[in-house]
């Protein structure tokens, strides 16, 4: 289900922890699985559980607890916009309206062509550079303006 490269990445992460504490790698394993497959299906979660010799329910608990895991399919480009207070004061609402209008969707929706998913996020720890968003969980775009959002969206095919 996961590629050899993905499994090698999981094994690499696992070396950080004592051999008898293999469960510690579960968060990384789910991140790596999601990066490869786009989202975490029940089958993927069961596969990760088998690979780490954990009960599937224990992996499912982790997958449902942390909000950057996607338990449903998302678009090729997931943009998560922080709307918490500091970002709100710095204009996040205007950016949210702009993103919704450009994508033609609301928060927690995916465009019909599967290109974009828009999410509302909580504090990302970079408030001085807000408004800001995350692209596919791993790349942060800061100091957003309607113009920079347009440019970003044009780049994401």
């Amino acid at each position: 289900m996961l590629s050899q490269e993905a499994l090698a990445q999981i094994d690499q992460e696992a070396r950080k922890y004592p051999a008898e504490q293999r469960q510690s790698v579960v968060m990384s394993a789910l991140r790596i699985a999601q990066a490869e497959l786009g989202w975490l299906s029940r089958e993927t979660i069961a596969f990760v559980a088998d690979y780490l010799d954990m009960p599937a329910i224990a992996v499912y608990e982790v997958a449902t607890f942390y909000n950057m895991y996607d338990l449903e399919p998302v678009g090729r480009h997931k943009l998560t916009l922080c709307t918490n207070l500091p970002c709100q004061l710095q204009g996040a609402d205007r950016i949210a309206e702009h993103l919704k209008a450009r994508m033609g969707i609301d928060f927690n929706e995916t465009t019909a062509d599967g290109r974009f998913t828009l999410k509302e996020g909580e504090c990302m720890g970079a408030c001085g550079s807000g408004p800001l968003c995350l692209h596919n969980n791993h790349r942060m775009h800061t100091h957003l303006t309607p113009e920079s959002v347009d440019k970003l969206m044009d780049e994401l095919k």
Binding site: P18, R31, F65, Y66, N84, E122, G128, S129
Partner: protein, 428 residues
């Protein structure tokens, strides 16, 4: 980005240099000298802990607990593994200082964790990095590789015979993991739900072993203290409030950003450094220590100095040093609606008063904001808050109550106007 003030900068001094994050830059300015000296002299752990106590360094993550005292809780003669854990799960709205330490001075954090590991007899350390800053997770791992290649990590460090290693652990979106026992659960590969205490982590921590958890800025301050002495650090700040501190200022200021200034600096000075309130607007309110800290009216804040004791005396807390500035255009009901949603969203669900109460408070604030408030709502909010605070395993419950109660207390007229007139007082 940040203003460079020589001499008082403990953590972000590399900002004025080329390649601020490199090992070369760090070592060219005295980096790793403290750990070299400690290892060469086989300095007794007690001496290190004593210097940290003298420095009056208080935890930079929000609680402000004296670091030296925390370190002294670790059992010294314990046989078996012990751990040092760094808390870079920086998700308290308004706080963005630890990310800058990872970006601009990753090696000082590594050296701080080395010194802590040595002083506490740990075999390894983990740095728990906030899920949303994956780029900094990767860059800190690169810094670890650099240090490892230079013989500063791993087996027989600098030929001293001491073995110690450091690793980064990546979070994936849960504010609660900033609570130290939730963080430990998370490293263990579980849901991040706080543990009941006691036992405290110093006796039962990561994998059940004695563990000390410190904030990123706290640990990054340690090399400075060991190089210049605890007394020098203390004198940077004021009694009981040693050192400089990074203040993250956001919201309605002209130049949001991080400013590392001595504890005890007047708020008015910080505001001026940040370019003042945006576009000449009037200061209305300030949350002085991250979203969990009670809000204070602007005029109260203008008379305060930024240190743990002064802010506490005024009825709020210095917290993580995250200063959120609001000008007169802000509707306090709307601001609270967003904050109360945050705590509702991030409650881990373990304790009933928090799980149910945060949602209850948010729904009431939301209906006030949307013109459906009831006359009894303000009393109800305060009553619910009273039934959450102090009745939960961890501090998230209290953190959720702080904003609600303080917003209602200081800006009651605005809330009442919303309830009576079903619209906003601001701009009315």
């Amino acid at each position: 980005m940040s203003l460079h003030i020589p001499d008082t900068q403990v953590c972000l001094w590399t900002l004025g240099h080329e390649n601020p994050s490199s090992l070369a830059t760090y070592t060219a300015h005295g980096g790793y000298e403290a750990i070299r000296k400690i290892l060469a002299e086989k300095m007794p752990a007690g001496e290190i802990i004593e210097q940290v106590k003298v420095s009056a360094l208080r935890g930079r993550g929000g609680a402000g607990f004296p670091t030296g005292l925390k370190w002294s809780f670790m059992p010294r003669d314990y046989v078996g593994d012990k751990y040092i854990v760094c808390n870079t799960d920086e998700g308290e709205p308004g706080t963005f200082k630890d990310r800058d330490i990872l970006i601009y001075n990753p090696h000082q954090l590594i050296e701080g964790m080395l010194i802590a590991g040595y002083a506490l007899g740990a075999r390894a350390g983990y740095n728990y990095i906030h899920g949303e800053i994956f780029e900094q997770y990767q860059s800190w791992e690169k810094a670890l590789e650099e240090a490892r290649a230079a013989g500063l990590l791993g087996h027989d460090i600098l030929g001293s015979g001491w073995d110690f290693d450091l690793h980064a652990h990546h979070g994936y979106g849960a504010y609660i993991c900033g609570e130290e026992t939730a963080l430990l659960e998370s490293i263990e590969g579980k849901k991040g739900q706080p543990r009941f205490k006691p036992p405290f982590p110093a006796s039962f921590g990561l994998y059940g072993k004695p563990t000390t958890i410190n904030n990123t800025e706290t640990l990054a301050s340690i090399p400075w203290i060991m190089r210049h002495g605890g007394q020098a650090f203390l004198e940077l700040g004021k009694p009981n409030n040693g050192g400089s501190k990074i203040f993250s200022i956001s919201g309605h200021v002209n130049k949001p950003g991080n400013y590392e200034i001595p504890l005890g600096t007047p708020f008015a000075t910080l505001l001026e450094m940040a370019g003042g309130v945006r576009n000449g607007h009037k200061l209305k309110a300030v949350i002085p220590g991250g979203s969990s800290a009670p809000v204070l009216p602007g005029e109260v804040m203008m008379d305060l100095t930024l240190d743990f004791d002064a802010i506490a005396k005024a009825g709020s807390m210095l917290g993580s040093g995250a200063v959120i500035v609001m000008d007169e255009t802000v509707c306090m009901v709307r601001a609270l609606e967003r904050l109360s949603y945050f705590y509702y969203e991030e409650s881990c669900g373990q304790c009933t008063p928090c799980r149910e109460g945060t949602g209850w408070m948010h729904r009431i604030v939301r209906r006030i904001e949307h013109g459906q408030g009831r006359p009894e709502d303000l009393e109800e909010l305060v009553r619910i808050g009273g039934n959450i605070a102090g009745r939960t395993i961890c501090a998230l419950g209290d953190a959720a109550v702080g904003p609600v109660v303080s917003f209602v207390r200081h800006f009651r007229a605005e809330f009442e106007y919303h309830i009576e007139n079903k619209r906003c007082l601001v701009g009315a």
